[in-house]
Amino acid sequence: MRLFLSLLLFALPLCCSVIADELPSEQQAVMPAKHRAIFERYCFDCHDSASKEGQLDLESLSLEISRDIPTAEWWSKVLAALNAGEMPPTDAEQITDEEKAALLHDLSIEMVKARNILSDSGGEIALRRLNRREYQNTLAALLGFRPDVSNLPADDSTGGFDTAGASLFFSADQFEQYRATATTALITALSDRKKPSSQIHRVEPEDTHSKEYFDRQEQLLDTIKRADAFLAQETSPPQDFGFRDVAHAEKQAQRSRVHLKQMQDYTRRPQAKEGAFLLRDKGHSRPSIRTPKVSTAGGRYLLRIRAGAYDDSPQRQRYVEYAIGNPKDYQVLGQVKISGTVSKPNVVEIPIDLEPGRSGAFQILWRDYKEQASRYVTHRIEAQKNGIGQLPVVWVDWVEVEGPFFDEWPNTAKMDLIAPRRSHEDNATYARRLIQSFATRAFRDQTPADEYVDKLVQRYLQKRKSGKGHVASIIDAYALILSSPSFLYMLEHGEPTALAADPTGASSDDNGPQTSSLDSNLSRLTDRELAVRLAYFLWSAPPDAELYSAADEGTLSRDDVLRAQTDRLLNDPRSDEFISSFTHQWLDMVRLDMFDFDARFHPEFDQAVRRSARQEVYSTIRHVLDQRLPLGTLLKTDFVMVNDVLADFYGINGPTDLPVQGSHFRKVTLPPTSPRGGLLGTAAIHVMGADGTRSVPAIRGAWVLKHLLHDPPPPPPANIPQLSRLSGKPRSGRELQTLHQEAPQCAQCHRKIDPIGFGLENFTAAGLWRDAETVSINPASAKKFQLPKSKSFDIDSSGTLHHGESFGNYFELRDAIAAHEDAFARGFAEYLIAYALGRPYQISDHRLASDVTRQASQKGNRIDAFVHALVQSETFQTKWAERPRVGP
């Protein structure tokens, strides 16, 4: 049973695969009878009813795979044995490739279907724990700032969406982590610090940063001098000169001479004494210019940098990145392009908001590769050209930090968290009032049980008695509240009566699924529960006061009110959380960060591009939502959403052909010949379909099938060797990929997957356009710091979709895919349902998905129309329930 279920449930997002509605074939996964002949001919010798070798009786095994779990388990074993080439045994007659491919094709598709049928829970939505994002946002709503939650488990690595209740587990360690995280956050929120005054600090980096280069030069000269002195004599031991032995001295001297050139090149520049260049040290390290430490009170800072870049330097290198933390461990907050020159520097000013509790200093760094290997190798390649290595590009005259500024003080919700004591209140009454009030808000407007409040008050009094102060004692109670089930779980009890009709009697003229009566095993959510579900769907945060009051007035479940509130939530910036979290998981964007890039082959690609590429996808979807554009815009359109980094990367200019300036994302209209526009034109999608060096057509093809064409291929069999094992002879990506199709068990899926990937071969691993593919020849014999010899292959991007449409190039492929907007919309609806309801999409959701897709298409497939249709559905507003056994 286990073996079967593992195949059954492998890669759950794939369960969105079945499209057709309410067809009988939908409820059954059946092997076509035509394959029976293959079994008779090749398998019955051992696996007929008489022999039953290995207990397997193919003669009487039902062709209906989804009949029951034991049947499905047998078929899953058959699939595995055929995929692995274990059966038929080598000494028996072999199934022809053609028969095998056809058989495996049907079997793998029917297995996926059987898995969906047998794992359907009938639509039940399991109780959800707040995931880490939601926990952070919920604390932010209560405490007035976003606390650090990095000590909690991430909740996103267990597969599926991080909202899936059944997979959000709980452990003893987690309880302690919640309590500790909440305590730290509360200490910050309730801090009684004085408002820090704003100050201006200017850092002159010639005193600090440049000095390190001058000092290093002296050290290197000293090492060389000592080594030369030692090697020129034979009487004194190496230790007298600071070396272990001759080899050590020679190596140190040689290394020092190499680095010395770079230091001398730095120090000879007159600006080195008036400011500092941002330049790698020792070829690979990334020194930063740092400001004095910031206040841990948070607040707004203005970071000003007076800097310039050399005129002849590449655009990509004329940026600085700014970060918060310490020189070894920092978080990059963004990047800014330096428009001044070294002779005519100018000042850039960057406003930065810091959360309370944040510590460290601002770090100013040169925009550079994240991968140490890339920094080192490009340095060495430069050194071979100019004898020195990487030369400085950006010069910084000074860095100034002003702040912190506060719009309000305190800058946390301290005043709401500890209301002042009333004159007549004793400790117990006061504590009870605070605890009662905080717990009610933390529990999303549910009143805590008396016994629970009593216990918290007792604890508070106990702490006070033992000498603890008021704030410390209340923090203890609040931290427990933030670790209690009523806070951690989104509890839904539903309306007390089973068949609750719309209480206001209001009806809607919308032709959506109106519910006059409910299925007897469904109970309607209360308005407050509905408010919570809605807010966590669109904000990953609790309802705000306005949403609560709509719920309290009892009008939220009215279609028009619910529609207005949904619109309000979508228009609020807090819905960015929905855009980024849903999109990241929907499009499997975790892959974007998976591979290091090799700067020898992709010098244009670095962390700033990677960050911006992710943001481009989010910004595009935000734009499509805000402008009420059709979902199909994501398949093909005439604009991109870019910032300066990506515009430089793509080689795109803004209106009137001026460069795109600034790090914010804005819409830029594209010429009709541009390959950009829509998801297929984004760097992100192509980087995800690559391994950091080369593009991988199969991954790109499978991604398109799964996410754009709503036709996911079955999961690949396990333990496939990496293609690079075929290395030895340079081959084009297309040829390499075609080798996949040699074995019939691979061919059956790759015939469908690969052509799409071939159509995208004009994009490099980094997502840049190319007309030819450069492939290294025998990298094994190449020197590490040189570009290996290479061979060029013209890209052949023609192919045929399995639907039958053929395409001659990428543009025709994009058109062919864009013609399938309906399939794309259906897939989007299914993922949206899974995310919003907090459980994997199931066969029993087909009807809902059809309703949502139909209603959205009546509104031009606008993203908000999908959201409205889902929110207005009965499924979103009810809970699958047994009748409560207990009365009160």
Partner: protein, 429 residues
């Protein structure tokens, strides 16, 4: 050679006579079977390396099973202990699917999709099965060190409790050092009060848990039940802490200096082995797991690739070279650990090595391959006959090895994971 009797040992170590936990020195067995010599306690260590090995240089030649095999390039540094190790081929977990999870299911063999509608499921890990028996007698039921991020190890932990929930590891050797050896200056009464306060905290949240369960559906109640189980588990921890409260922490004979927090990579692993050794010498725990550092380990070797990119070494000479260096450094550190285990004597004259079972490996082989999991075992604790290259039948459950280790060490469980038996060869010369 007659080893000193248990009684002599107890008598000589006067400090221990006051211990409330005489079981921890085999007292019960000693008391009931006075004539029998009590043997040193059995222990287990699991070292999970996350991203796998360099397949082409880590596995011995398949044509040379048995004693007469040549140590491959990656394992050369273990040459001195060739007679003390066993290298396996063809062990795997039938249910493994996660190409980036070297540790998550390594000690469990679970099927993450075993529960319909749930995208993640796990079951108890082998170390926790051992800890359930060995852990009662020591201050720490088991110790878990977590040397890196999830990268190459997979989600959760390497150790999973009997509910299949992850057990958090200590983030750095320095945390393990403090847990093991830092003395608590707080007066006993205060520490007792702290534990009582923890109990009252649990009691408080439980009262909320009880009140919310009313009216929930069966599925939802099952979900809340995870919360109840977690709180119960903490209660058990507190009870154990209370029992040990008045027992001072035992210091190793040759004291260890507090490790620096900046230890990363190779020195971090060395320190981890050092601390495990000291924990065994002081009998602070008998079960250890270690999620070994990945990126920082290869970086401290001087490699400029991430551990993930190293796992994609086929076809790249630079990555392959660094990957082999990583394997060799691991083998070298392990050889050092074996040497110290052998040199450290138990009161009965045996060595720590004689009583420990140590497994080193991963659920991942190379790249994302989950078959032929790299597996190396050493130590005499389970009564294994070492010195061989054991080429198992294809697809032999890795759980057969875990079951063999458990049974061989006296943990008489009927089965484990998807094991279909023990590996008989291990118990036969």
């Amino acid at each position: 050679m007659k080893t000193p009797t248990r009684r002599a040992f107890l008598a000589s170590s006067s400090a221990f006579i006051a211990l409330p936990f005489l079981e921890s020195f085999g007292y019960r067995r000693f008391a009931t079977a006075a004539a029998a010599t009590t043997s040193a306690p059995k222990r287990m260590i699991f070292l999970g390396m996350g991203y796998g090995v360099t397949s082409e240089s880590w596995y011995p030649n398949l044509e040379t099973p048995g004693y007469d095999y040549e140590l491959p390039e990656s394992l050369k540094p273990l040459a001195r202990y060739k007679q003390d190790i066993t290298v396996f081929q063809n062990l795997e977990h039938a249910h493994s699917r996660d190409g980036h999870s070297g540790s998550t299911f390594w000690l469990t063999g679970a099927d993450r999709y075993a529960i319909p509608g749930q995208s993640f499921h796990n079951s108890i890990s082998a170390d926790q099965v051992a800890a359930a028996q060995f852990g009662n007698e020591t201050r720490f039921t088991s110790l878990h060190l977590n040397g890196g991020n999830d990268n190459g190890h997979g989600p959760g932990s390497i150790s999973w409790n009997n509910q299949g929930k992850p057990i958090a590891g200590m983030p750095h050797p320095v945390a393990m050092y403090h847990k093991l050896f830092s003395s608590d200056n707080m007066p006993l009464a205060e520490r007792q009060a702290l534990l009582a306060d923890d109990r009252s905290a649990l009691d408080t949240v439980l009262s909320d848990a009880r009140s919310v369960t009313k009216g929930l559906t069966k599925t939802d109640k099952d979900k809340i039940d995870e919360y109840f189980q977690s709180i119960r588990e903490i209660e058990i921890r507190i009870a154990k802490d209370e029992q040990w409260l008045s027992v001072p922490k035992k210091q190793p004979a040759s004291p260890i200096k507090e490790p620096s927090e900046t230890l990363e990579g190779i020195p971090e692993v060395e320190m981890a082995y050092e601390l495990m050794l000291a924990a065994m010498q002081t009998d602070a725990s008998r079960v250890f797991t270690y999620r070994m550092p990945g990126d920082s380990f290869v970086s401290s070797l001087g490699s400029s690739y991430s551990a993930h990119n190293l796992s994609h070494h086929p076809g790249s000479p630079e990555r392959t070279r660094d990957s082999i260096l990583r394997d060799q450094k691991n083998a070298e550190l392990l050889a050092g650990f074996i040497r110290k285990l052998k040199a450290s004597k138990e009161p009965d004259g045996s060595s720590l090595y004689d009583n420990v079972s140590l497994a080193f490996g991963s659920n991942l082989r190379t790249v994302h391959s989950l078959d032929n999991c790299p597996t190396l075992v050493t130590g005499g604790g389970a009564g294994f006959q070492h010195g061989r290259h054991l080429v198992m039948e294809a697809k032999t459950p890795l759980c057969n090895l875990w079951l063999s280790m458990l049974r061989g060490s006296g943990v008489n469980v009927p089965s484990f994971g998807d094991a279909n038996g023990i590996i008989d060869e291990l118990f036969q010369a």
